[in-house]
Symmetry: C2
Subunit: 335 residues, 2 copies
């Protein structure tokens, strides 16, 4: 035992280490839960964004969505909703494929860990019991040897004493023989207990305890594999939505590609054209002709302002413009 180092409580150490392993798992579960909440929150904000800018139902705003640019914006809003949905998918899949699974696994792991340390302590108690039996067996043999020795010395003393009766010598001889026999019996029992102890001790250190440690090691390695799988799922769940988010973005681009400024202009022309033809040239009114004079006189006072209005405005503010319904020359936005 030349390489002997101070004894250590290996089971305590391993108990602490495996508890740390469970803590790490629970920390990871908490981490993923936090992430799912962030995703849910992000998705909620994106959905609110899409809702906030949605045209109000049955309002004038809805009509605006006949314009291609407005339709592209509407498509953007709808795609933002789908985009949000994908982040909800991240959250849902992380919950079902990671946190729920790992939480169940942690319970199993706690049970398994408990059972290994229980087995370890039981083996420990058993070998201690064997040791106590050996000690007790050895002490009995030692005591019996002393008794035999003492009986032998007494017999030898009696045998050498000339004042002692033969009967007393014989009694002492028999007593010594009996004690010797008893010591021989104790020796036999001690030898058999020692043999049994050495066998159990070898089993304990070379089979039982190594087996338990191996099981703990296997458990630990399974825990590490399991957390690794979850970490991979963590990235995978995220990666899975990437192409769908990509499609959302493509849909926005596609909607934008169908924006048609000329078409939108035509809608404005169709909606706002007056259908009024531009006035032709004003005719010369010849007041030198006596025939026309009477007409001029009757219409003069009340027609001049009306005429001015009808030419340029309907409400006398001079802001209204008449245009043709169809013309080679000019329609609102249509040349």
């Amino acid at each position: 035992m030349s390489f002997c180092l101070p004894l250590q409580d290996q089971f305590d150490t391993l108990e602490k280490h495996t508890q740390w392993g469970i803590d790490i798992l629970e920390k990871y579960i908490k981490f993923v839960k936090d992430r799912t909440e962030i995703e849910i929150n992000y998705a909620k904000q994106l959905r609110n964004l899409a809702k906030k800018y949605q045209p109000k139902k049955n309002s004038k705003e809805e009509d605006e969505y006949t314009y291609s640019s407005c339709r592209a914006f509407l498509a953007t809003l709808n795609e933002m909703n789908d985009y949000a949905g994908q982040h909800e998918v991240i959250s849902e899949n992380m919950t079902s494929q990671i946190t729920t699974e790992l939480a169940r696994y942690v319970q199993e792991l706690k049970q398994e860990r408990k059972s290994h340390f229980h087995d370890g302590r039981k083996a420990q108690q058993y070998i201690e019991t064997c040791w106590k039996q050996l000690e007790s067996s050895k002490r009995r043999f030692e005591r019996d040897c002393k008794e035999a020795d003492r009986a032998q010395q007494y017999f030898e003393k009696m045998d050498a004493d000339i004042n002692v009766t033969k009967a007393d010598v014989e009694k002492a001889r028999q007593q010594a023989q009996l004690r010797h026999q008893m010591a021989e019996d104790s020796k036999g029992e001690y030898l058999s207990t020692l043999q049994k102890f050495n066998h159990e001790q070898r089993e304990h250190y070379h089979t039982h305890i190594p087996n338990i440690f191996q099981k703990i090691q296997d458990m630990e390695e399974r825990r590490i594999i399991r957390i690794g799988e979850s970490m991979k799922t963590f990235a995978e769940v995220d990666r899975q939505v990437t192409p769908i988010i990509g499609k959302c973005l493509d849909e926005i681009t596609k909607a934008v590609d169908s924006i048609d400024p000329k078409h939108d202009s035509q809608l404005v022309i169709d909606a706002f054209k007056s259908g009024f033809e531009p006035p032709g040239d004003v005719d010369f009114e010849d007041f030198t002709q006596p025939i026309k004079r009477a007409i001029s006189e009757s219409s003069l006072s009340n027609s001049k302002e009306t005429k001015s209005e009808s030419r340029f405005s309907s409400k006398s503010k001079g802001k209204l413009w008449p245009f043709m319904k169809k013309s080679k020359l000019m329609v609102l936005f249509e040349i």
Copy 2:
């Protein structure tokens, strides 16, 4: 003018429509700003998440990151930080490439719009002024014709009256001639004003106003193209970070792939091994030999319990286990 429809205030309508176009642009700017805030907020939460689970500096926790599974978690945290960074990039690029640009453009657009409507109103005022000149010119001609007519009637009346002097007849004749001449002059001026008005009116309806409407239409179409470009950028900015986010996810997977349960076990073995060899077989102590007796007697009373302790525990609670430093048979986790 058979297709004449009621007059409409085309400029008012167009002013309203182009204002709506500006409102749409400003609404889109607001939408993108809202999106950038959501991205900033999302990134902030992801950064906080990464920070929250980071091992505390100079603590025992830091040592834990010698384990490959802990290192994979640390890599996950670091990648989440980069992931957050990409959403900050979305926010920054949307701000610089969309909101800042569009905000500047809206200012230009407002200026341009103002100038077109100013030109339109100026043209409107000009043609109204021409119309008023024509009306006034026509009224003067009409009035002068009346005066000439009246002077002619007066002259004819005087000429027929036998009680009137020749001088008075001559005066009335000259007066009638003068009035006739004045009416002729007014007619000439009226004709020229009419000719000018008809020219200006044709220019107005067939050139000036169509030009202004065309400019407004161009402006509108540029606005639609511009908002379309921004909408495309909106998707593009998002699309650009996708491969980088993909790399973050790949880095997580890569870190997970280097998780090595056997290596982590070895670290535990190296850290916790006791270096204590399992005890060998216990020897038989023969108390039947008188020589051994003296040794046995002196060590018996105080050594038996100590021996029991040194075999299984250092603190008498029977929990401590000795193991070998190196052994073919059994080391903690190493078989």
